[in-house]
Amino acid sequence: MALDILIVFLKAVFIVLTVLTFGAILTWVERKQSAVMQDRIGANRAQILGLRMIGLFHILSDAIKMFTKEEFTPERADKFIHMLAPMLSLFFALVTFTAIPFGNVLRLGGKEINLQVAGLNASVLFVFAIVSLGVYGVVLGGWASENNYSFLGGLRASAQMISYEVTIGVAIIGALLIYNTLDLQEMVRYQGHMYLGWIPRWGIVLQPLGFLLFLVAGIAETKRVPFDLPEGESEIVGYWVEYSSMRWGMYMFTDFIEMVLLAAMTTTLFLGGWQIPWLAADGFHFPWGMAIGLPHVVVALLQVGAFFLKVVFLLWFQMLIRWTLPRVRYDQLMRIGWRYLLPLSLANVVVTAAVLLLIG
C-alpha cells in the first residue's frame, strides 16, 4: 500500500518536473526559433563565467528577473482573486497531465507500473473537464484587475476558449468511435497495430480531418498566434495587463504548458502515443523478417523516449506556426470557429459513424 502510494507520487513528480522543464525550455525556444526564422541571432547575452551555452542561461536570468521584480496589485483590484487567478490557470494546466500515458506498463521487480499517473476509465474526458476549468484563471484575472481593458481581454479570452472547446470536443469524437474507448492508455494500445505491415494504425491515418481540426482548435485554446487576441502583448491590451513579476510569469508559463499539453494530447490521440512502429513487447519485428530482441526495460524506455520525441516535434511545429502566421481578426476568429471548424467536425463525426456502420 505504502509502496503503491510512493509509486504514484514518483510518477506525479516525474511528469510535473518534466512538463515544467519543457515549459522553461520553451521560453528559450520561443526566442531562439523566432530568431533563426527571421535571420537574427537571438538571445545570447546571458553568461556564467564567459560561458554562453547558446543563450540557455536566459531561462535562469528570466526566472531571477521575474521573481525579484515588484509585485504590483492595483489599488482598487479585488486582492484575493487577483492573487488567485494566475495560480488557478497554472494549476489546472498542470493537473491535466495526470491522465496522459507517457509509456506502457513497466515491470520492475514483479511490480506492474502503468506509466500514467491516474488510470481513469474516462481519462480523455478528465483532460477536457480540467482544461475547461482553466477558463476561470483568465476571466477572473481580467475581472479582478479592475481595469476595463483587462476585463475586455478576459471576456475575449473566455469567449474564444468556450467557442473552440466545442470544436475540440466534437473533433475527437470520430477518433473515439474508432478506438471504442475513452481511456487514453487503451487508445494508444489500439494504435499499436499495422496495416499491410507498414502503415501504422495511428489516429492521423484513420482520422486526418479530425487531426487537423483538433490541432487548429487546440492552438486557439492555447491563446497563441494566430489566435492570440486575448493577450496580444504588443498591440491589443489583454487580460494580464495589470499583472507583474511572477504572477504575470505564471500566466505566460501557463501558455507554454498548454502548448505541451496540446502536443501530448495530439500525440496520444493521433500520433500513436508511446508506440514505435514494429516495436513489440520483446523487441523489433520488421516486416522483411528481421527481428531484434530487446530486454523489457529497454523497450519501456524507448517507448517513453518516443512519446517525448513526438511531443518535441509537435512543439517545434507549433512554434513554426506561431512565427509564420499573422493574427486573425476577431470576427474571423469567431467565423473560423463556428462556421468552418464546427460544421466540419460534425461532418467528420457523421461520416466516420456511417463508415464504421458499413464496415460493421
Binding site: D78, A122, L125, S132, Y136, L140, G154, L155
Partner: protein, 169 residues
Amino acid sequence: MTAFLFYVFAALAVAGGLTLILHRNPVYSALSLIVTMFSLAALFAMLDAQFLAIIQVLVYAGAVMVLFLFVIMLINVRLEQRLPQRFTAQTAVAVALGIILLVEVIQIGLTGSKMLGPVATELSAKEVGRVQTLAGLLFTKYVLPFEVATILLLVAIVGGIYFAKRKLR
C-alpha cells in the same frame, strides 16, 4: 483515508453552499458554487462513479458556471443591495418546501439508507461507474427518458435563440 477525504470534501461542499448565500459579492457567490460542485464531483469519484464525477466538473463547473460568471461580470453587479423584504406567496411556498426537504433529510439521516431501497445490482461497485455500463443502460433500458431529455435540451436551445434574436429586431 476514505473517511477523512469524505469529511474534507463534504465540509467543502457545505462551506461553499453557505458562502454562496451569505456572501454579498455575486462573483464570490458564483465561485463558492463552483467549489461546491467540485467537492460533489470528488465525492462521486470516491463512490467509484468516475464518469459522473468528470461530467459534473465538465458540465457544471466547466461550462454552466463559466456562463454564470460571464453574465454576472457583464452586467457588472457590485455588492448586493438589501432590498426591502416583503412577504409574498413565493416566500411562503419556498419556506414550506424548504421545511419538507429538511424533514426528509433528517429522517434519512436518522433511519440510515435502508428506506432508500436496495442499491446494489448484479454489478460490482467498480463496474457501475464505468462508462460502458452507464452507456449500455442509457441506450437500452432507459432510452426513452434519455431521448426525452435531449428534446428538452433542444427546446431550451431553440427558446434561447428565439429570445436572443427577438431583442435584436
